[in-house]
Amino acid sequence: MKSRHKKILVILLGLAGLGIAAALILNAFQSNLVFFFSPTQVAKGEAPTDRAFRIGGLVEVGSLKREANGLTSHFVVTDTAKSMPVVYTGILPDLFKEGKGVVAEGKLGKDGLFTATQVLAKHDENYMPPEAAHALEQAAKAQTTLVK
């Protein structure tokens, strides 16, 4: 084997070994790399109960209620399978809307109420003009009425 081929082989083997090592490390850290837990994961008991963590999902449509002080809001976060109630005192981000993504950081109470200290809006990867979004909405509505 020529020394040049040997060198290439060593580089390739090194890279392969590195890839495997990285995959193993990432696998081991899997749970720590999760930025938020879904309500289903919380229901299964995968989220920590003793310290703060983040939950993520969609704000259930029709669930947002504001208290008289104007700052405290109640809403339900759902991943369409399970859902959990959240209470938050503070200013909600502009993109916070019913039916849209949200990530809330806080603690889970004994009563199942999640008290958030920070609420972040999670937006999706869709970009379009408002007219197009409106047209899509109309089309979806038309389809559901047809199916019914």
Binding site: A22, F35, L95, V103, A121, Y127, M128, E131
Partner: protein
């Protein structure tokens, strides 16, 4: 004519000099066109309104930050395997631009994150791995600068580049593998882009402009590196005297 002719620094120096104006001008023209689309032609977004326009800078910068790293790793690997001088010089010439684009991606991302998410920075997998990329670029540049022996420096820097290359797929797939606050990719080889056509066009034009800019500045940089390293040779001395 043989392509290998241009693996010789002396020949490549001349070729690069001829190519630079072409790349610079096309980069400038495309950037103007891309910015015109971004700010005047592309419509307002249905949920993020005007703030989404930062993607026209943010996404091309983030793509380039990852792509330049892979190109650097490629040149590093070629250099380590074949002992070709020019490939190490190319790797060194690319690094500052890669670091610049990584910084721009992080910075514009923070400016975008505050109004949209409600936070400048969060430690989610996408943002953290991109920050690691910036540290890698800075670390590699520092390593090259710290080792006086050029050949040894080349090898050490390229080795570090290769090791760090594992981070690039992690950045790219982080939004798929883990729950992140950062949204998934709008552009994907597996499905149609989830973006209005004119917005996509603006982003792609900006991305091509970023490519051409990168090629132009790294050619300028590699010419300086070639001259510096070949200053003992007659042809380099002749050029240096003329300057």
């Amino acid at each position: 004519m043989n392509l290998y002719t241009y693996a010789s620094p002396a020949n490549f120096y001349v070729l690069a000099g001829k190519l630079i104006p072409w790349f610079s001008w096309s980069a400038g023209l495309l950037a103007v066109w891309g910015l015109y689309i971004s700010f005047f032609l592309a419509p307002t977004d249905f949920q993020q309104s005007e703030a989404y326009r930062i993607i026209f800078i943010h996404v091309p910068a983030a793509w380039m930050s990852m792509f330049i790293y892979l190109v650097m790793a490629f040149w590093g690997a070629i250099g380590l395997a074949f002992n070709t001088r020019l490939s190490f010089m190319m790797a060194r010439a690319l690094a500052p631009t890669g670091a610049l684009f990584t910084f721009i991606a992080l910075w514009t991302g923070a400016l975008w994150g505050k109004p949209m998410w409600g936070a400048w920075w969060v430690w989610d997998a996408r943002l953290t791995s991109e920050l690691i990329l910036l540290f890698l670029y800075v670390g590699i540049i520092a390593l090259w600068a710290a080792i006086d022996d050029v050949r040894r420096g080349d090898r050490a820097g390229s080795l570090l580049t290769l090791i760090g290359a594992i981070n690039v797929p992690i950045i790219y797939f982080s939004v798929k593998w883990w729950n992140t606050l950062h949204q998934g990719s709008s552009i994907n080889l597996m499905k149609a882009p989830s973006m209005a056509a004119i917005m996509l066009q603006g982003m792609l034009v900006m991305a091509i402009a970023a490519w051409l800019y990168t090629i132009a500045v790294s050619l300028v940089r590699v010419r300086r590196i070639i001259l510096e390293r070949e200053r003992q040779t007659d042809w380099a001395k002749a050029i240096l005297e003329r300057e």
